[in-house]
């Protein structure tokens, strides 16, 4: 029967799509578990280095590092972390929207902005923006990024800071709240802000620095910034997989609904065709 051939092909094609989205959902779910583990594995390091930085704020070093000194803000550097691939719901666009509103604010205040991007999506997006200058990018780091992969881009921004080309450094990435929620965040890295003082380390004291304060602090603060950016990266990875899992789940569900609707239309059309045929036959018989 020729009835509803288009509908049937449509149903078949949606079923194929559904198979793909369902497979992607499952892949994302298993990857999410791994990326979440990795995210948790980086926590001890950032906790420890954060503690050392806090101790350092209590010490009375004879040498003040430039990363700890506030400057008048004329130009801001940003490291923007996005995913490499799409099909992960509004993850990247939410992040970019949040960034754009921040950029607009800075623009009003007459502050210039330059960015470095991690991930293909951010690179494509920010290379088209006229207001910001793209100075560095790295992408295709895969699901298991290593700290030394992003060392170059961080060095680049730190050099800009040391040369006085930028007065602040921010990192933009998604924060993993839970599987359903990812929150775009912008965090200030430089100058290093040491928040509330928890531990009591009274008295006037300072570290013994070997070989000397400048080199050690330079090294330590660089590692601190690196660990912050690295944590943002692994967290963003976990966000990506979670967002993709949710997006693919709703895509599969939508495909199911669509198939149901089309099936109904198809059945109605088929029934209408049969009724019409019967009435034609009956009509023909009556005429004879």
């Amino acid at each position: 029967m020729a009835v509803g051939k288009e509908i049937r092909t449509k149903i078949a094609s949606i079923k194929n799509t559904q198979k793909i989205t369902r497979a992607m959902e499952m892949v994302a779910a298993s990857k999410m578990r791994k990326t979440k583990d990795r995210m948790q594995a980086t926590r001890p390091y950032s906790k420890q280095i954060g503690r050392i930085i806090k101790h350092l704020a209590h010490a009375n070093p004879e040498y003040k590092h430039s990363y700890l000194i506030k400057r008048d803000v004329k130009r801001i550097g940003m490291i923007i972390i996005s995913s490499d691939r799409g099909l992960c719901g509004g993850l990247n666009s939410n992040l970019f929207r949040r960034t754009l509103s921040q950029l607009a604010e800075w623009d009003k205040a007459g502050i210039e902005v330059e960015v470095s991007t991690i991930g293909t999506k951010a690179t494509v997006f920010f290379s088209t923006l006229k207001k910001v200058q793209l100075v560095g990018q790295i992408s295709k780091l895969g699901d298991t990024p290593h700290l030394h992969d992003i060392a170059g881009i961080i060095r680049l921004m730190l050099d800009e800071y040391e040369q006085g080309k930028i007065d602040e450094l921010h990192v933009v990435s998604n924060e993993f709240v839970n599987t359903m929620t990812q929150r775009p965040t912008i965090e200030k890295l430089l100058p290093v802000v040491t928040e509330e003082i928890e531990e009591k380390l009274g008295g006037h004291w300072d570290y013994i620095y070997e070989p000397d304060a400048k080199e050690v602090l330079d090294h330590l603060l660089t590692r601190y910034i690196e660990s912050k950016v690295y944590q943002g990266l692994v967290e963003n990875n976990a966000c990506e997989q979670a967002a993709r899992m949710i997006a693919m789940k709703s895509a599969s569900d939508n495909a199911g609904n669509l198939i149901g609707e089309l099936q109904l239309i198809y059945n109605k059309a088929r029934q209408a065709a049969i009724t019409q045929e019967i009435s034609e036959i009956v009509g023909g018989a009556a005429a004879v």
């Binding site: 001890p44 420890q48 030394h148 013994i208």
Partner: protein
């Protein structure tokens, strides 16, 4: 009772050791150091080498690290280990590469962006077609 000091060894990618120890030996830049409990506060860089944690008089655990930072507080020793051997000039080279890639992305603007916008437009067109299709099917 023997005095102990709390030791944490972590790398950016995982936690390596956490617990009490009688003494810690580490390859500091100026030569190997041994840290006993109540050592004065100190920060130093570490060379690639072996860190030994003396857990008890008879047992000590060795860990290989590829450089890092050692922080000493009187009751706390923290070792931040690097995951790979790092040198400033290698980082500088990587920085230059990152810069070059950015320039590439900017130069390649037309091609890449057209691709991205085209993709967006295509997705939009497909959505519109699908809605139209459904409306037509429902009406007819």
């Amino acid at each position: 009772m023997v005095m102990t000091v709390h030791v944490d060894i972590v790398s950016a990618e995982k936690e390596i050791f956490s617990g009490a120890a009688e003494m810690v030996f580490a390859p500091a830049e100026m030569g190997e150091v041994g840290i006993a409990p109540r050592h004065a506060p100190m920060i130093t860089r570490l060379n690639p080498g072996e860190v030994r944690v003396k857990v008890s008089a008879t047992e000590s655990q060795p860990y290989f690290i590829s450089g890092g930072i050692l922080e000493v507080q009187p009751h706390l020793v923290t070792i931040l280990a690097d995951t790979a051997i790092r040198a400033r000039d290698i980082d500088e080279a990587a920085a230059l590469q990152a810069k070059a890639r950015a320039e590439e992305a900017l130069a390649d603007k037309s091609g890449k962006v057209d691709y991205a916008t085209a993709q967006a437009q295509l997705a939009q067109a497909i959505m519109q077609l699908r809605t139209l299709d459904r409306l037509r099917k429902r009406g007819g």
